[in-house]
């Protein structure tokens, strides 16, 4: 059997052959009974493979899928309830803490007359002497 023709035949099942290749294959099929037999064998083999496909899972497959979806939705609902409850429980505590914090900051600013972040957090004021390193004066002199 012509190897080139056999290769073309095998390719023809999965690829679009060019016009030249298609005509070459047709000619080879007309002249070679062996090639025609091989074409029939390949066609039969491929049909068998296609027929071998499973067409279902175990019984009640759809019902099992829907049951899993229902469970999933139940879990999501419980999670949502949990986080909503958590938020509802902690919201008063959070608001109280926020109010207390702001009150403290306002008190600090008012007490120190220092309208700054440092003043709000009651940080001690930094003096000029603390900023300038006194040891520098040795080098300047």
């Amino acid at each position: 059997m012509n190897k080139k023709a056999l290769k073309l035949l095998q390719r023809s099942f999965d690829e679009n052959l060019s016009e030249v290749e298609r005509q070459s294959l047709e000619q080879a099929l007309q002249t070679s009974s062996e090639l025609r037999a091989e074409k029939a064998r390949i066609s039969t083999w491929r049909k068998s493979v296609l027929k071998s496909a499973a067409n279902s899972f175990q019984p009640f497959f759809a019902a099992k899928v829907m049951q899993r979806i229902a469970s999933l939705k139940e879990v999501q609902k419980l999670e949502s309830i949990f986080f909503e409850s958590l938020f509802a429980a902690f919201r008063p505590a959070f608001l109280t803490a926020a109010i207390l914090f702001l009150t403290l900051l306002s008190y600090n600013v008012g007490k120190s007359d220092n309208f700054s972040i440092a003043g709000a957090f009651a940080e001690p004021e930094v003096t000029l002497e603390q900023v300038i390193d006194p040891t520098i004066s040795f080098f300047l002199e």
Binding site: L50, S52, M66
Partner: protein, 183 residues
């Protein structure tokens, strides 16, 4: 009246899960052909099949309809099947005994020359293929997708699909020829 996939998806998204069940029934055979083709007829195949539909359900609101539902589901099924094959390989390294669906040889009683369970023979031969050859073989020859569709599902160039397909077919035919010649 037979509802279109689009209508069933819209109905599901509006809260009617019964519509989704119709989609499951409609595409069970398609997903089964892919998953059982890839993994063999085993309990893991059923799990992967179910998971394919669960993933589809979870991603329904993002489904834009650029591909058909069949192609979209098949893509999910193939990816989950390939993940399962990777898991099997890791399990085999830790626990070296053959997983269900990956038998080395046909059982003795089936090796008779008179054995004519063609379907099991083909499935046995397909399971001898490595994952990347198995996936193109299953999609093209078992699921019946065109070469272009197979390439689209696997996100591979058509040339790669053709080359893997040729090698896969050669290997499967080599395994099956002795059985067919003795029929």
């Amino acid at each position: 009246m037979i509802l279109t996939d689009e209508k069933l998806i819209k109905t599901t998204l509006s809260g009617d899960d019964g519509a989704f069940k119709q989609l499951v029934v409609r595409y069970e055979s398609r997903v089964a052909a892919t998953v059982i083709g890839m993994l063999g007829n085993c309990p893991e195949a059923e799990d992967v099949g179910q998971e394919s539909f669960i993933r589809f359900y979870k991603g329904l609101k993002d489904f834009r309809g650029n591909s058909s539902v069949a192609t979209y589901l098949t893509r999910i099924a193939i990816n989950l099947s390939l993940n399962e094959l990777k898991r099997r390989k890791r399990r085999a390294l830790l626990f070296p005994q053959k997983a269900a669906g990956e038998e080395e040889n046909l059982p003795e009683q089936r090796q008779s020359n008179k054995y004519n369970e063609e379907k099991e023979l083909i499935q046995f031969a397909v399971r001898k293929l490595g994952p990347k050859f198995r996936s193109v073989f299953v999609l093209r020859l078992i699921d019946g997708y065109s070469t272009a569709e197979t390439a689209e599902i696997l996100k591979l160039p058509v040339g790669t699909v053709l080359s893997r397909l040729a090698r896969a077919q050669e290997k499967v035919r080599k395994i099956l020829t002795p059985y067919w010649e003795n029929k």
